[in-house]
Structure formats: structure tokens, C-alpha cells
Symmetry: C2
Subunit: 336 residues, 2 copies
DNA sequence: TAGAGAGGGTTATCCGGTTCAGGAGAGGAC
DNA sequence: GTCCTCTCCTGAACCGGATAACCCTCTCTA
């Protein structure tokens, strides 16, 4: 009934605990014959190393942490995090690392969670997402001295390693495409203004439009309701935009619905672009032109860096591929 | 630099390790004055109990596991799991339990993950979701003797505790509602047929329609594409249904788009109901009538049961509230 | 004033591994 | 025959807490 320990194996094999430890860890100090015998016994009785006992010897916890600070109702809707997590885990699983997850409601709580996990030796490192400007979490994590990979722009990640992608490039590609289609009045329905990547996109958007197109930016909380409200306001203005770029797909879908409800035909009267592609973008009519990126790969890269960091390597900022535009039915030439 | 231990506190306070242990755990054996002094020192130097050391004493790992066996692209789209997870964590966090998460690609892998975690004393218990008929995982987990709460129908959960909701009731309410609106040809676009809850809903649907309405059931993999394809086929048949019930919201949205693309007006020519409400259901035009349930609460209940199970209590199956119908613009009277 | 009992601490041991400092025995060189 | 080296293995200590058992010092009671 009790879980077998190396002591059990040792007594069965007629050797000491130490020999068993060496044998099972592939260390020198035992003959091949003895090693084989020990391994066979371990297999037979289904031995697994007790992670706590290992961790107690200053070894790693073989676990990394991720705390997400977003309300449940937004987390559920945004495919981003689930895809990111599954990408992260693909890498972790290969190295038998586990992922400790917690959903929190404030940055302060988030810092606390990390402090606890680290203090209790539960994790060897962590990811930090949704970077803000002058983010208190960065300082806090630097103070802890814990290996951390920031998934976000390196300009704000302090001394922490960062994995990021150039959103500016994607914005420029999008604006260029819309301009080529003849659009001169562009709008951007953006996410939370305090997030670094929102500002990065905002600035790139404003810059790309500079002198060649009128532009307006509206900030929201990523929910469909706010996306709908923003769209309604934009489409009600006398010089309404002929193209809108949304910061996520749920808002883009909401915007599409608002357009239809206002008898604004897409893409004839209005072009729509969604940031982050997803099945959702493809099932609506017309299917949404989207900024596609491989989010699981993004997560995988971050996980690789974190593991490298944990094993003592130094990890320079890593720039992942920028999102690319996938044109579909929701964008078309501007009406003359 | 090194993490403080109770030995550090002990030497500072001029007492033994044991006194510190008693003091910090609120056990009798130390005077209030000493306790206060020790707690103050612990606070000051930022002591946290080493979880590994605690776990080594036969104590709990203070951690439970959840392995999800669905492809990333489906996990991302389905708000269900994220909401479930955040509900689970609300309860866990209160008792400083952590959640170990892993996304796997097969049931076999899933069983393995649980075996490893349990064998390594990483977790004290686990959740089992997406129950199949004659599910091998149930037998496997029973064999492990690990506390497990199945989130699914108790008829298939063997000796494991179950938390479930009566999908049959929700189906009957929906069919009743559609019939009252005058619908006589109903369709159900269902999820994976091997899942227990799919069959439960299928049977309840067939039974509720028995003798009072024609009905057809199509199975899919929950993706928008298959939802769209199923809808297209249904709407192309000569005696096409006047109402369709979808097993998730992404398929319902896809179905709505297909209807619009085929010039089938919703709700005039076709009523649509989505299982599981979400912001998505509310942002499309018309907003979708949905079967609403409090998924975070569902997860919270499961977590409460799991913690009870871990602390040795016996936990009878718990039936959560059934989903309730939230009528919106996508359902209306059948045309004469 | 001895004895009982309670309060407040301590020492020793354990949990399941890892690691370090040897030690026994075989084999080789001189 | 002696000394040295190398292989293979062992005892003991340790990681950071929890816990059982015991001990000392008061205080209260008979």
C-alpha cells in the first residue's frame, strides 16, 4: 500500500540506499550488473522518486509558475492564454516540468502568489504576462531573484529576460494593406491602455497613419460589449472610418454584428481586421481578415528560455515572429 | 540570499527549532510571548515554510492536478475550461492549495501524468473531466487510490466521487420551449459522441421529441467548421429543421453565419439555441438564446468536494444546478 | 513541605532522497 | 612482498520541517 522508496529497493537488492540512488540516477559508482538489477526491481515495484525529498536536497522543484491576472469572463473568451499555455506545456512536459497555474484578480495578489511559490520552493521560475508601464511586478520579481521570463516588450522588462514579438511591424503591414485598398479613414479599437503592447500598437498605428490617413483610437477592456459600443460610436460619427482594426477577435465579431445591425455592409462599406486569428474569426460571415501568429510556438519559446534560465544560462531577449496578415472576406476596397 | 529556515529563526530567537515549529503552526507548547516574538522574527526575515520539507513528513503536497485531453485549438475556443479552472482556483486559493495543470493529447498520456504526479507525491488529488463510456481512466485512478472528483455523470464514475449537473433537464426545458413556439422539426448539433454528457443529451433530446416533433442529431468535434458543415447539410435537406440546438457557442455562431449565408433568416426561418452561454453568444446578431450555467461555481463545487475527499471525508455524488434557458433574439415562433 | 499537575521547552528521530568521505578487495607495477 | 590505483560499494550527515517523548520549573494543594 505504501509507496515504495529507495530503501525498499535497497533491501530487495541487498545493497545500500546509496547504491540505489547512484544506479537510478545514472551516476558512476555502481557496476552495470548491479545497476541493471536495481533498475529492474525499481520498475517491478513501480518506484517513482518522491519529488519532495528531491527538492529538499536543494534540487529543483521541477515546476514553474504562471499567475494570470484577468477576470474569469475575459480569460474564458480569449483563446490566447489557453493556446499559450498549451504551447508552454509542450516544452515543459518533455523535460518533466510541471506548470503551476493560478488565476488572480490583482497585480498585488499576483506578486504575492509568486512570492509564496518561490518562498515555499514550489517553483524554480515563472512567466510574467500582460506587462504594464512601470510595472511593480517587475521590480518585485527582480528582488526575489527568481528566474523569470517576461512575455512582452523588453523595454519594460527590466533585468528580466523577455520573449516578445514586434507588434509594430504587424500594425504597419495592416495599415499599408488597408491604404492600398484605398482606405483613408482608419480606426483602431484597442485593448487596455495600461498594457505595454497596447501602447506599442497605438503608437505604431498613429505613426503609420501619419500624413496618409485620418485615424482614431478607442480603448476598451477587450470585452465584446465594449467592442460593440466603440463600433457603434465610430459608425455613428459623420466622418466614420471605412476600416476598423480590433485588438482581439471577440471585439471584431461584436463590431461585425454592430455593422450589420446598422446596415453597414462588410466589406463594402466597412473593412474589419481582427488581431489574433482563431476559429471564431473564420466561422462568422464574412470571415474576418486577421493578424495571425503561432501562439503555442510563442509559449514554447518562452518556456525554452525559462528552462535555460533555470539551468543557469543567460538568456538574451528573444524576438519571436511578428503576426502576419491573413486576408479574408471582411476587408475590401474602400468605396470611392 | 539563502531562504530563511526555522533554524535561522530559532537561533535569532534563542530557542529550539521545535519551539519555532510549534509557534508558527499555532500549536500549544509555547508561551504567547515567545510565540509573538517568533512570529515577529519570521515576518521580518520573510520566512515561508518549505513545501517540500512539509510534504516529506507525510503531510499533504497542498496541490491538486488537472490534466486536459483536448487539442489546443479546441481548448482555446471553448471558454468552458478556463471558467471551470478559475472557479476551481477560487476555492483552492482560499486553502492555499495550488493547481497543477497539464494539457495532454491522449487518455493514455493523461493516466500517465496522474500516475507520475501521484507517484512523486506532487499532488494530493485530481479532477477528471470529459468522461467517456467504459472510461479506462476511471479504473486506472481507482487503482491508484488517489482522491479524485469526476466532473461528469456519476453513472460512469465508478467508485470515484462525482459532481454533475442534469443535462437532461436542460434539454427538456429547451425542447419544451421550442415546441411552445410551434417548432415541430428540431435538430441537435452535438459534440463528440464518445463523451458521456453528449449521449445523455442525445437521449434526453430524442425522448423529449418522441411523438411530438421530428428530430435529427448530428455529431461533431465541437469546432466551428464542423458546426458550419452540419448546419449547411441540415438546412439543405427538403424537410429542414426550424430550430437547431448546438452543443457549444462556437458552433452556434458558425451555424448562424451559415444560415445568413444561405439567406435563412434567424429567427424568422430558423431558431438557434447554444449550449453554454458566453459573451460570444451575446455579441452576435441576433444574440443567441443560450443554456446558461454558472461554470465557475461548478468548478468551485468540484474543488470543495476534492478538498473534503483529501481530508478524509466521504463525498457522495453532488448534483449541481442544471443549465437554464436564457431566451434572446435567436429564437422565435415557427412560421406557419 | 512533599507531591501532583500544568506550562514551556528541549532532545532525538523521522520523512526519502543526495552527497561526501572513506574502505574493502582486486589487479598491476616494481 | 609491498605499495599503489581503481572499481564498487557503504556509513554518516544533511536538506527543512513535524512529532513523540521527556524534562525542568513553577504553582497549587493536602
Amino acid at each position: 500500500m505504501k509507496r515504495p522508496t529507495i530503501a525498499d529497493i535497497a533491501s530487495r537488492a541487498g545493497v545500500s540506499k546509496v547504491a540505489v540512488s547512484y544506479a537510478l540516477n545514472g551516476q558512476p559508482g555502481v557496476s552495470e550488473a548491479t545497476r541493471a538489477r536495481i533498475v529492474a526491481i525499481a520498475d517491478e515495484i513501480g518506484w517513482r522518486p518522491n519529488s519532495a525529498a528531491r527538492a529538499l536536497n536543494g534540487a529543483r522543484a521541477n515546476c514553474v509558475g504562471l499567475a494570470l491576472c484577468r477576470p474569469a469572463r475575459i480569460l474564458g473568451v480569449e483563446p490566447f492564454f489557453m493556446e499559450l499555455i498549451s504551447g508552454i506545456e509542450g516544452v515543459l512536459a518533455d523535460r518533466s516540468y510541471a506548470l503551476l497555474l493560478q488565476v488572480v484578480t490583482s497585480h498585488q495578489q499576483e506578486s504575492e502568489v509568486y512570492r509564496h511559490w518561490w518562498g515555499e520552493s514550489r517553483i524554480d521560475g515563472a512567466f510574467l504576462v500582460d506587462l504594464h508601464y512601470a510595472d511593480a511586478r517587475v521590480a518585485e520579481l527582480e528582488r526575489l531573484g527568481m528566474p523569470v521570463v517576461v512575455i512582452g516588450h523588453p523595454s519594460e522588462s527590466g533585468s528580466l529576460s523577455a520573449v516578445w514579438s514586434d507588434d509594430g511591424e504587424a500594425v504597419r503591414e495592416t495599415v499599408g494593406y488597408l491604404r492600398a485598398l484605398g482606405h483613408h479613414r482608419l480606426a483602431r479599437v484597442a485593448g487596455l491602455p495600461e498594457l505595454v503592447h497596447t501602447t506599442v500598437r497605438d503608437q505604431a498605428f498613429a505613426q503609420a497613419c501619419e500624413g496618409v490617413a485620418e485615424h482614431v483610437i478607442v480603448h476598451t477592456d477587450y470585452t465584446g460589449e465594449e467592442g460593440a459600443r466603440a463600433t457603434r460610436r465610430l459608425l455613428s460619427s459623420p466622418d466614420r472610418p471605412t476600416a476598423i482594426v480590433y485588438d482581439n477577435d471577440i471585439m471584431a465579431v461584436a463590431g461585425l454584428s454592430v455593422a450589420q445591425e446598422m446596415r453597414v455592409e462588410v466589406p463594402r462599406d466597412l473593412s474589419i481586421v481582427a488581431w489574433d486569428d482563431s476559429p471564431l474569426a473564420q466561422v462568422v460571415r464574412p470571415p474576418l481578415t486577421a493578424l495571425t501568429r503561432d501562439i503555442p510556438a510563442y509559449g514554447a519559446h518562452a518556456a525554452q528560455r525559462l528552462l535555460a534560465l533555470i539551468s543557469g544560462e543567460s538568456v538574451p531577449p528573444y524576438q519571436d515572429q511578428a503576426a502576419v496578415l491573413t486576408p479574408r472576406g471582411s476587408t475590401g476596397p474602400a468605396r470611392a
